[in-house]
Symmetry: C2
Subunit: 343 residues, 2 copies
DNA sequence: CCAACAATCGAAAGCGCTTTCGATACGGGA
DNA sequence: TCCCGTATCGAAAGCGCTTTCGATTGTTGG
C-alpha cells in the first residue's frame, strides 16, 4: 500500500506538504502541487479512509436502518425505493451507505452502539414500527438522523401526506357515488397507519358519511395476508360496504384476493383503492387504483435534511411532508344508483 | 468519546492490558479482566472501528456492487432478494455492508479504488452486465470477490443453473404438446442470458425440435419493454409459435402485454414461461409459470464463498451452481391436437 | 535455598493521516 | 539598509487501537 510517506519520499517534500496538496490547502506552491499530484498519479496512491476518519472524525458514511414488519428487508418495495433515491442523492457528495449488522466483537449491540462504533456521520431510518426502543434511543442521541414515514420530535422527519392521501381516496370514492366505505387499516403501532386511519375518519365525517365501527378493520402489518383476513371479516358483515380503502397496496391486493375467493369481483362488486403505488400495483388484476407516494422526492428530501444536519453539525427536527397523488386504474367503479335512494 | 486510555486510567491497568482484556488474550488475569470489563460497562466504552481497522487491516466490512441494466438500483427484485439473503448470512459474523459511491475527495473513482480506499474485506457483485471494465478490474485485483449470476475465471461465482432451467422450461412446454417454441433472450452481453439461450437451443435440438432463426428474438436487457417489443416481432411472423420461453419474468410480463394488446390471450393462444419467479410473477394475469431461482441459497452460497476467501486470505475462483425449480402456474396450457399431425 | 518456568503486565512502536504553529525566504516600502 | 508582510514549507503531536517483546513477580521442583 502506497502512503503519503512514499509520495513524500519520492517528491522530496514533507508529508505535511503532500497532505496539503491533496487537500487543496493554499500554502502549497504551484510547482509543489504539480510534482506531488504527478507522483500520486504515477504511484497509484489512494488515501486510506480509516486513517483519515481517525483524525478528522468524519467518515463520509451514512448508516441505514431498515426495519419493516414484513421481515423481507431490502426486498420491501416501498422502502427500497426510497432508499435508492436517498442513495443517489448522497452518493454524488461522496457518502457511502452502511447497512449495519449490530455485531461487534461477537457481541450483539444496539443500533446506536453499532453506529457509534462505525463512526457514521448520520443515519437514515426507514421503519414502519412506531415504538422501537433502539430506534428511539438512536434518534435521541447526538448522531444526526432522519426518519422516513414516522413521527418524532427528536429527529428530522420526512413523510408522505398520509392524511391528505386518505382525503383523496375518500373523495374519489365519494365522487364515484360510494357512500358505504370500509377501511382496512395498517397496524396500529404504525405511524402511517394511524394517520391514514385518522384521515379516513375525518374525511368521511366531513362528507357526512356514516362509518359503522365494523367497517374499520385491522390489516396486520400492511401484509398481503393481513389484507386477506381483514377483507374476510368485512365480507362476513350483514351489511356490506361498496368500497374499501386499504392503507397499503399489499393490503389491497390481499383484499382483492379475498373478494375473488368469496366469489365476488373487483370492481363490479367492490371498489378497492390502495396506498403506496408499489410496482406490482399496475400488474394485479384489475390494475389497482391507489394513492401514490413519491419515493423519489421522499428520498431526496431525506437526504437534504440529513446533510443539512451533518454540515451544520447540529441536529434539527424539522418535518417535511411530501404530497401524494391519486393514481386511477381499474379497481374502482362508479356505483350505479340502485339502492341509494335518490335525494 | 471514551477510549481505552480512559479505561486504563480508571482501572489502573495499562492500555495494553485493557486492549488484551477486550480481545480475549490469555495473559490477562481473571481479576484484571473483570475490573476492566466492569469499567467498560460503567463508562459505556465502545471501540472505534476506524482505529482498529487502521492497525489490523481488517474492516469487517463488505462492499457491494449493484449493477443492473434496468437502472432501478436496489429496487431490482431479483438482485435485492439475493443481497438480502447475503446480508443475513454475513451480519451474524459482524460484517457490515457498504454500498459504495465512487466519489473520493470530490473526484470520481473506480470501484476498485473506492473499495481500496474503504478497506473492505471483500466485495460481492451482483451484476447482469457481462463486460464491465471496472468490475473486471476489481475481480482481477487482490480483493476477494464473489459474483452472482456471472461467469469469471478471476472470481468466485455463484449462479443458478441457467442451462438446466432452460431444459426444464422446454421439457415442460414439450410435455404440454408444444412443438413450436420461441425464445425471448436476455441481452447478449448478459451472461445468464447467454446460458439460457444455449440451454434452449440444445434442449430443443435434443428433442428434435426445429427452431427457426426468427424464433430467437432479443429482449433488451431483461426489461418489460424489451419483452414487449420482442413479442411484437414474434407476432409479426407468418408462422406463429405456440409457446414462448422468456429468459426473465419481466420479459415474460412484457410479452404477455404485447399478446393482449394484439388481441390474443394467454394461455389460450400462447403459452408463456418465464425465469426468476420474482414477486410480481404470481400476481400478473394469468399468474406466470416460471423457473424459480433460489435467491436464499444464492445469497447464502455467495456469503460462504466470500467468507472462505477472507478467512483463508487467498482468492479462490470456485464456482457454485444452484438448482432451479419449475413453478407451474396458469400461463401455460396443453396444446390441443388440432394442427399437429398425429404421428 | 536456588534455578527454571509460568503467569501477568506494560513500554513502545506503528497503522496513515491531518493540522497547528513556528521557521525560513523573499520582496517591497520607508 | 532595515523592517515587515507574504508565500511556502515542515516538525511534531495526535487520532484510538493492536501487538511484539522484554520485565517482573510468583511458583515449583530438585
Amino acid at each position: 500500500m502506497v502512503t503519503i510517506y512514499d509520495i513524500a519520499k519520492k517528491t522530496g517534500y514533507s508529508v505535511t506538504t503532500v497532505s496539503k496538496a491533496l487537500n487543496n490547502y493554499a500554502d502549497v506552491s504551484q510547482k509543489a502541487r504539480k510534482t506531488i499530484l504527478d507522483a500520486v498519479e504515477e504511484m497509484g496512491y489512494l488515501p486510506n479512509s480509516h486513517a483519515r476518519t481517525l483524525t478528522t472524525k468524519k467518515s463520509w458514511t451514512i448508516g441505514v436502518i431498515f426495519i419493516e414488519s414484513l421481515g423481507i428487508g431490502m426486498k420491501h418495495p416501498f422502502f427500497s425505493s426510497v432508499i435508492e433515491s436517498f442513495r443517489k442523492n448522497v452518493e454524488i457528495l461522496g457518502y457511502d451507505l452502511l447497512f449495519a449488522s449490530r455485531m461487534i466483537n461477537n457481541q450483539k449491540k444496539s443500533y446506536l452502539e453499532q453506529f457509534k462504533y462505525r463512526g457514521v456521520d448520520g443515519v437514515v431510518i426507514v421503519s414502519s414500527l412506531f415504538n422501537d426502543k433502539q430506534v428511539k434511543e438512536l434518534m435521541e442521541s447526538t448522531i444526526p438522523t432522519v426518519v422516513i414515514d414516522l413521527h418524532s420530535s427528536e429527529s428530522a422527519v420526512v413523510k408522505s401526506d398520509n392524511f391528505d392521501g386518505s382525503y383523496k381516496a375518500v373523495d374519489y370514492l365519494y365522487s364515484l357515488g360510494h357512500r358505504n366505505m370500509a377501511h382496512i387499516a395498517g397496524h396500529a403501532t404504525t405511524f402511517a397507519g394511524q394517520e391514514r386511519l385518522n384521515g379516513f375518519l375525518t374525511s368521511t365525517k366531513s362528507l357526512g358519511l356514516d362509518v359503522p365501527d365494523e367497517y374499520i378493520v385491522n390489516g396486520d402489518y400492511f401484509s398481503r395476508e393481513g389484507g386477506y383476513e381483514a377483507m374476510k371479516k368485512l365480507l362476513a358483515l350483514p351489511h356490506l360496504p361498496t368500497a374499501v380503502y386499504a392503507a397499503g397496496d399489499e393490503l389491497a391486493i390481499g383484499a382483492m384476493q379475498a373478494i375473488k375467493d368469496a366469489g365476488y369481483s373487483v370492481p363490479e362488486d367492490f371498489s378497492i383503492i390502495g396506498f403506496d403505488d408499489i410496482d406490482i400495483a399496475q400488474f394485479v388484476n384489475p390494475p389497482l387504483t391507489t394513492i401514490r407516494q413519491n419515493t423519489d422526492v421522499l428520498g431526496k428530501e431525506a437526504a437534504e435534511l440529513l446533510l443539512q444536519q451533518i454540515n451544520s453539525r447540529q441536529k434539527v427536527n424539522d418535518s417535511i411532508v411530501v404530497p401524494v397523488e391519486l393514481v386511477i386504474r381499474d379497481s374502482c367503479k362508479a356505483l350505479v344508483q340502485t339502492e341509494s335512494s335518490p335525494s
